[in-house]
Amino acid sequence: MATRMIDRNGHRWGAGISAVVLYAGLIFDARWVAPLICAVLGVGVLFGLRYSPLGATYRFVKRTFKLDIPMVPEEETPPRFAQLMGFTFLLVATIGFYSIDSAALGWTLTMLVAALQTLLGATGICVGCEIYLVGKRLSARSAA
């Protein structure tokens, strides 16, 4: 089966946008940013990063302003796993905010996701992708 490729720039752009939204949410005490970004990441996790709304904004900006940024192809699976991590943390943060009324839990996990997204957006360091590759090696070891 052919490996699905994505544009690494779109992935980084999406991470940058979501980080800005999450920081703004913290500063203005807008708890709804956690379920919002959780849902946005969930779309990419469920249907593939090609359908990610954040990736769509990148393609829209690139097309609108006719930016000549070459595509940097990247295999989809590790970034998708990274988004799954972000989705899970924000899901627990949402439960913290709205079910058990724990702002500390909610904001801690939201800021963890914001930090990971900042690293990816600003420097290209994808911690989730690194964890995916380590996990893959460990699973190959246990299967051997």
Binding site: Y23, I27, E75, L119, T123, I125, R137, A140
Partner: protein, 152 residues
Amino acid sequence: MIPRVLVAIGVLAICGAFSIWWRRREGRMVEAHGAFDRRDLGIGFRDKPCATVVEFYGEGCAPCVTVEQRLDKIAETVCDLRVIKLDAGDRLDLADRYNVRRVPTIFVTDPDLHILWRASGVPSEEAIINALLGPEWAGRPNPVESRAAERG
């Protein structure tokens, strides 16, 4: 609001410190010891390339592709350089033996496959070339210069 702004600044500062630390160790060539077995790398006993670069890569690893492109480019410049790519997932035995904890990891060896340098992450082209042309080359023809002489 001010405490919240301070928390956001704190998170950004931690991200900045982490990225500086990461960038400093990422792709840095460090001296290493040991030797590869020719049979493990599929190199014949009569084969003696100027130098060998062994790369451990992983499936789905984007930085590995960048390293491969750099190594292929360097191999065009440095004569008789052999680049051997090993899937760390398939060759767990070798990954364990050479203490490969993450991909990509590259090893630079001398003609006798003694390991001289290793790097995890994406080393710059310059770092790889410097490792290839380091003091270990004393007494051997400089591959880049001999290629230039051939052209000249």
